[in-house]
Amino acid sequence: MIYLDNAATSFPKPSEVYRAMDEFFRERAANPGRAGYRLSMEAEREIEMTRKALAEFFGARDTQRLVFTLNATDAINMAIKGLLKPGDHVITTYLEHNAVTRPLNSLEKQGVITISRVRPSPQGFIGPGDIEKAVTPKTRLIAIVHASNVLGTVQPLRAIGQLARERDLIFLIDAAQSAGLWPINVEEQCIDLLAFTGHKALFGPPGTGGLYVSERVELRPWREGGTGVDSQNPVQPKEMPYRLEGGTPNFVGLVGLKAGVEFVSRMGIHNIQRHGQGLIHHLFHCLEDDKRFILYGPPSTENRSPILSLNINGMEPQVVGTILDESFGIAVRSGLHCAPGTHRETGSFPQGTLRISTGFFNTEDDIAQVALALKEIASSERVTA
């Protein structure tokens, strides 16, 4: 089986991720921070080491301001619902995943906030100038996706971040697709809220993720409960990370996430990126001159994650996806990818696209095979149509 759905979740994981989780879960998985005994302290230490590793990875000076969440969706909800107040105006884009779109839309629908949505270029890039034009005196937040999960296009964070800082706006990044693939530095890119997931390019297990919250922001906790510290306090403590981290965390998963982040650091983010871009470049090269294919997004791999969305003329992406799975043993995602706005902008709504997303463990041979399979499927359709 050739797995090419790494934008949904990376698979397989580096073997050290499985090993670290198995060893920890079997030998040392006591509840962290809830008791003074040795095992518990050790679990607590693992969590703090993961926190430290991630804070460093994202260039965050204050480790305690990085809180753990279930995934990027959880982190984004925590940020949006913990920050916005009645009357606030938010700037976002048409490239967003539903993880950003839906929480914002529901607040808009309830009459709490107003939203301006910035359109991308036909290739899928957001212009900082367009963001600037949307700013109003009421604007509080700019919420944008770093790398599009449909097109792979990567947005200029630093330029938008600086703009946000100049105007004293809060800058929220959905880094679900980019964390582990693209350099992120919350200081240099002026990011106030960084939401990421553990199970994609950071190679952790599902059920892990996090939110970095800069000193400029104080969030209302939307999940309250036991913290293992300050238990006499009748309400959620003010201190980070406890303010946003009620309940037993997925500490077994976090041990895996730490191993994943260490893997990324060891391999080097640029090497991982170059590998993925090489593969997508190869696929692009195989298909770009074939008129039976519609390729979405920019024609190069510059500022692009290893994602290629495409369609075969006259075929439903779900049909192509099923044939790839059944007759060729190739796993890809087909449909709307939870980002209907992007599909509208690129003319692939409502049928969606076939999305090929490579990972670190894919090879040139995998790409050659998927290209061949796609051409064969396109030919078979012509005969019978």
């Binding site: 439903e316 049909v319 099923t322 059944e326 449909g335 019978t384």
Partner: protein
């Protein structure tokens, strides 16, 4: 209890006053309200059963009227789910029976709720997947059930008594591979054959509910009305000592492991069906050419085309009635998977899949 109403049945000695009284407190569930189910439900209501639950997932169609006796042309105009129309009709037949018409597709998620407390389950379905689900529930809850089937002029019946007889999985082990068996849609059905088997099925149900298990037909009854043949196959020799369901207690259809998966596709107006059953995982393939030939002979089917990877055809969404017909487009893959474009309704997709491809 009104003796007068049921006098002729009470006079029948094996039932008597005692049997009638037991019947008046009993709950039977009829799964599927088609040719067999509508007759069976009607007979049970007339017999004075206490509680009757009728489960069906479909909307009435014109082609149902040829054989489904609970329904008429007025019902067709109303366009209601068959389960609800059946409830109304049955209540008119016998107002003393507590009747529940349930418009639902029996599946692993609801089976234990919808079949709960049944003292007998009458299988009046058109597919093996639902039958194996009933089989699992019946074994788990020790509920007797009666398998029935009808195709062309042939009809089949078998009593399944958990712990006493073989079970349906002993007989067929797993679901026949999709597209391999004829269905009512492809082979037709003679209404009298359905009536005969429904009558026999209700007779068996009455034996169970009045405490006369000794009188039950043992084995698989096989009738052909056209040929005029009537035979009982001895099933004791077929009983499997390695049957996962009745010997090992592995209820793979009830716990959803082997049940088909029906999902509405994100965005597109389409439903995907992934057949369950162990056969689907053994690399078996549908003979797309044979299926294509069978479908091409049907009046409802248009635009049949085939490639090495798939079979496409269109059918009408008959649930909307004759006045407003929508075309539904099927794509069938060799491993039995299917995509149905033109609807977001998983139940409709399952109904049509079992009608045209068979499950």
């Amino acid at each position: 209890m009104k003796t007068e109403r049921y006098l002729r049945q009470i006079l029948f000695q094996p039932i008597g006053h005692e049997g009638q009284e037991r019947l008046g407190k009993a709950l039977a569930v009829v799964v599927g309200c088609g040719a067999i189910g509508s007759t069976a439900a009607s007979l049970l209501a007339r017999a004075g059963i206490g509680y009757l639950r009728v489960i069906d997932r479909d909307i009435l169609e014109e082609s149902n009227l040829q054989r489904q006796e609970l329904f008429d042309e007025e019902d067709l105009k109303e366009g209601l789910p068959k389960a609800l129309t059946a409830e109304k009709k049955l209540q008119r037949v016998n107002s003393t029976v507590r009747i529940e018409g349930i418009n639902a597709d029996l599946n692993p998620g609801n089976a234990e709720i919808l079949l709960k407390d049944a003292q007998v389950i009458l299988d009046c379905t058109d597919n093996f997947e639902t039958r194996l689900l009933i089989n699992d529930y019946a074994l788990k809850s020790q509920t007797p059930w009666i398998y029935s089937a009808c195709l062309g002029s042939q009809a089949l019946l078998m009593n399944i008594l958990p712990g006493k007889s073989l079970c349906l999985r002993c007989l067929i082990n797993s679901i026949p591979f999709p597209g391999t068996l004829p269905t009512c849609e492809t082979a037709g059905i003679l209404a009298p054959a359905a009536k005969v088997i429904a009558s026999l099925q209700v007779t068996e149900a009455l034996k169970i509910l009045t405490g006369h298990q000794e009188a039950l037909i043992s084995g698989l009854l096989d009738i052909d009305l056209w040929k005029g043949t009537f035979q009982i196959m001895d099933t004791q020799t077929v009983r499997s000592l390695t049957c996962p369901a009745c010997q090992k207690g592995e209820y793979e259809f009830l716990n959803a492991k082997s049940f088909s998966l029906t999902t509405t596709l994100c965005g597109s107006n389409a439903v995907q069906i992934t057949p369950g059953g162990s056969s689907a995982r053994n690399g078996s393939k549908i003979d797309l050419s044979a299926l294509s030939q069978r479908l091409q002979s049907l009046p409802d089917i248009t635009d049949v085309s085939q490639s090495p990877y798939l079979l496409k055809f269109s059918c009408r969404d008959k649930s909307l009635g004759a006045r407003d017909t929508m075309s539904l487009n099927w794509v069938i893959f060799p491993d039995g998977r299917a995509l149905l474009f033109g609807t977001k309704d998983p139940t409709l997709a399952r109904t049509l899949y079992s009608q045209y491809i068979g499950i």
